[in-house]
């Protein structure tokens, strides 16, 4: 098991290198350059040229890439061109915010999805099932920004239950401030999970070993938690893992609407500002986080399903 984890961690390295090269080249393929973006429309050609020279962007691509790798090995992602602070510091400040939001959303999503999916499965093909599936189907088809704004308007502005945007100062304050954005993302996640989980619960419920457990006289609650859910969750865990990766990337819109200082917003600003070091640093961070989430998902998967062998 430990050797498996180690092996997987080592496997991340080539992925990491490929992402590094790819993003390095891709940002430079984008039209426009950082100097122009920072200096705006009014700058003269000489000032743009001078700034590009100061940033080392006039040097051959291979040299730039070499310097980038050399710095990276020393644990330095460079400085943001527009903000003039180290990229590592920016990520260290902003990543925890996005991770907090993503985990929060995942927890809320699972808390909503599991009971409702089980209920829908147990009461399958009744109005309860139809209602649960219908509501989430609608939820899934609504754009995230729309749901976010409706929640803000109703629960924030009209009822005044939650603050309108922001991040807060302490842990409980974060929980309070991030409730609406986490709910927005959580609803979306729950919508995906309910569908899969309901189907797997139904599948397991009709399996022979469940009928056998029932015949043994086990209480239905025990059957549900020990046999049905455990088996039904296998597929869902994988889906959840995939979606947490998506949550981190998808926090962009939510972070803008709810004024949350996370990496999603940082990335959008960096792309518009052609802030190469920030784009590169963030992409590498995303790649790392997603790789780790996948690894953890696989580990949980193997725990839930002993048939899965880690090798």
């Amino acid at each position: 098991m430990n050797s498996y984890v180690l092996k997987r961690l080592v496997q991340i390295i080539p992925t990491f290198l490929a992402v590094m090269l790819l993003v390095f080249l891709l940002v430079r393929l984008l039209p426009g350059d950082p100097a122009s973006a920072v200096l705006g429309d009014r700058a003269t050609a000489e000032i743009v040229e001078r700034t590009n020279r100061e940033l080392g962007l006039d040097r051959p691509l291979a040299v730039q890439f070499g310097l980038f790798v050399q710095r990276l090995v020393q644990g330095d992602l460079g400085d943001s061109i527009s903000l003039k602070v180290p990229v590592l510091r920016l990520i260290a400040e902003r990543l925890p915010v996005t991770l907090f939001l993503s985990v929060y959303a995942a927890v809320l999503g699972v808390l909503m999805a599991v009971p409702l999916a089980v209920l829908a499965a147990v009461r399958r093909n009744t109005w309860v099932d139809a209602l649960i599936r219908g509501v989430f189907q609608v939820g899934l088809s609504l754009p995230v920004f729309y749901v976010a704004l409706q929640l803000l308007t109703l629960l924030g502005a009209r009822l005044g239950w939650f603050p309108i945007g922001g991040y807060g100062e302490s842990f409980t304050d974060h929980l309070y401030h991030l409730f609406l954005p986490a709910l927005t993302l959580g609803l979306n996640l729950a919508a995906v999970l309910v569908r899969t989980l309901r189907n797997s619960v139904i599948e397991v419920l009709t399996a022979e070993y469940v009928s056998f457990a029932r015949a043994k006289g086990l209480r239905s609650r025990v059957i549900m938690t020990r046999h049905v859910l455990r088996n039904a969750l296998i597929a869902t865990v994988t889906l959840l893992g995939l979606n947490i990766g998506g949550l981190i990337g998808g926090a962009v819109i939510t972070e803008s609407v709810f004024a949350i200082p996370g990496v999603g917003r940082l990335m959008v600003d960096a792309i518009f500002g052609r802030d190469y070091p920030v784009i590169q640093g963030l992409t590498l961070t995303f790649a790392l986080v997603v790789s780790l989430v996948f690894l953890i998902t696989d580990l949980i998967h193997s725990r839930l399903d002993p048939r899965v062998e880690l090798s």
Binding site: S36, D41, S82, V85, A157, G166, S256, V257, P261
Partner: protein
């Protein structure tokens, strides 16, 4: 009602007004910004996001007036130009201090201006280029000039000429000026009304009152009235407005013009439309051939004039600015000094447009493409309206939506036919916009390729002309010549829309965009 009771009522009304006007001290104003500042050094950065904060942190020797038309004393209580215009003598106020309590001296002034005018210092050094030497004696600062420069007082009232504490700056860690600036800008100390006390990037920024500020309030005590201003970064327009309506903010900038009427109806809010120097136009490529080598219909002045006449500004003002704009009649805004009120611009005249096109070789019409910023609802509303207006004269407008950086890159390479553009002045003088819009040698007249020998000559003269009357006549001629050549499509001027809680008093955003919080106070 008899005379006496009428007089009594008037007196009561006057008293209650004057009572309501008495500023109360203390409190925090929470203000919603659409984006965070980037880098708080007055010399090395020039984004509005920084400038509008910088002017609260660093005071200048002179200051722009609130109407945007002139300058008034700042750190210098008076300034005198010599009769030959080649010397400017400024007198510093007595007892000036930086926000840390250390004295602000003539040496700080000399050092700050020397730093700002170094030719490779930022994009703004040219505004101080006429200065030859700076001499300091006690509280007297003497600027000797290479040539008479009527724009210098305005330049001394502009953010890049902010006075910084030499000792603190040079003591900041770093090998060179750029590195020291990076370190100093993290915790800047200036002599403005406020001082940065906390900055959580992307989230909020707190400015505390500078206890050593020189300017006095109506009560005879030092300004500012507020204890602090907290800027919350809220990029989403709707969220900013919701937060204001819920009372979590007392002010919010960049209210979408589409929501102005609605917020005006809200009894708890003051929906302010501060006059700005913002002009919105469409830049045209005036060159005979395009980057692709194709013929360019816009090289014909009649075509450019025709499109201007075919543009119904009043309709656009209703559709795009929801009635908040006013037609441009010059390339500079009506709030710019030396704006010529006699300018007519291009009143909507379809018959004239058709006649002009008929006289050109494009009487059958043509297709033309315009670069728009993708995701900009304003650009899209404007251009789809123009599509219909110009279709009436046989011109088919193709809208090309690209992101801002791509738009800038194509513009810089002169690879465009038309593009949407907006401009605001940073300095209280017409020379800035003129050098960008009308002078080929700067950036090819905002990359239109327009060039006029007469404008070049008039501009050069105006840069040394000490008589305001003569200078005004030079600018009148420049504005007329520019309109006749029509290198751009004249659209409209738009205000700065700021929504404030009714409790906020004395806040002003001046036409240059500076947010003035120094005399702002909150009703308890």
């Amino acid at each position: 009602m008899n005379r006496l009771s009428q007089a009594a009522l008037t007196l009561v009304a006057a008293l209650s007004v004057s009572q309501a006007m008495a500023a109360t001290r203390g409190g925090q104003l929470v203000y919603g910004r659409y984006a965070d500042s980037l880098f708080l050094d007055p010399v090395l950065n020039d984004a509005n996001l920084d400038i509008w904060i910088l002017t609260n942190l660093y005071d200048t020797l002179l200051q722009p007036t609130a109407d945007g038309k002139g300058v008034q004393p700042g750190l210098a209580s008076r300034y005198v130009a010599s009769s030959d215009g080649k010397t400017l003598t400024l007198t510093l106020r007595p007892g000036l201090k930086f926000a840390d309590g250390s004295a602000l001296t003539g040496a700080d002034v000399k050092w700050s201006l020397d730093r700002a005018r170094k030719p490779d210092a930022g994009a703004w050094s040219s505004s101080l280029a006429s200065i030859d030497t700076i001499a300091v004696s006690g509280s007297t600062v003497t600027l000797r000039l290479k040539r008479p420069d009527p724009t210098l007082p305005a330049a001394l009232a502009t953010f890049n000429a902010g006075i910084m504490p030499q000792k603190l700056f040079t003591a900041a860690p770093g090998k060179n000026d750029a590195e020291k600036a990076k370190a100093f800008a993290e915790k800047p100390i200036g002599s403005g009304a406020f001082v940065l006390s906390e900055w959580k990037r992307g989230s909020y920024m707190v400015l505390k009152r500078n206890p050593y500020y020189w300017k006095k309030g109506d009560d005879g005590k030092a300004l500012p009235y507020l204890d602090s201003v907290r800027f919350e970064i809220i990029p989403d327009d709707n969220t900013r407005i919701l937060k204001l309506q819920a009372g979590e903010l007392q002010g919010a900038e960049f209210i979408p013009l589409s929501r102005v009427a609605e917020l005006k109806r809200n009894p708890a809010l003051d929906m302010e439309l501060f006059p700005s120097t913002k002009v919105n136009s469409i830049l045209m490529n005036n060159r005979p051939t395009l980057k692709s080598g194709a013929d360019n219909p816009l090289s014909d002045v009649r075509v450019r004039q025709a499109l201007n006449y075919a543009t119904n500004k009043e309709a656009l003002i209703q559709v795009v600015t929801y009635g908040t704009g006013k037609p441009m009649t010059s390339y500079m805004s009506s709030t710019t000094p030396l704006f010529d009120t006699a300018q007519k611009g291009f009143p909507y005249d379809l018959a004239k447009a058709k006649a002009l096109l008929a006289a050109s070789k494009y009487k059958g019409g043509f297709e033309i493409s315009v670069l728009a910023t993708s995701g900009s609802a304003d650009d899209l509303a404007l251009l789809t309206a123009l599509q219909q207006m110009w279709a009436a004269v046989g011109v088919r407008l193709k809208i090309e939506q690209v992101d801002a950086a791509t738009k800038t890159a194509r513009y810089r390479a002169n690879d465009f036919q038309m593009r949407t553009a907006a401009w605001t002045n940073d300095i209280n003088d017409p020379s800035q916009i003129t050098s960008y819009y009308a002078l080929f040698d700067n950036i090819e007249s905002v990359h239109t390729g327009f060039k006029s020998a007469e404008i070049d000559k008039l501009f050069a003269q105006s840069q040394q002309e000490l008589s305001r009357i003569t200078r005004a006549s030079q600018y009148r001629r420049i504005q007329s010549l520019y309109a006749a050549a029509a290198p751009i499509i004249y659209l409209y001027e738009t205000p700065y829309p700021v929504a404030l809680s009714k409790k906020v008093n004395g806040f002003v955003q001046i036409p240059l965009g500076n947010n003035i919080f120094s005399a702002t106070w909150l009703t308890k």
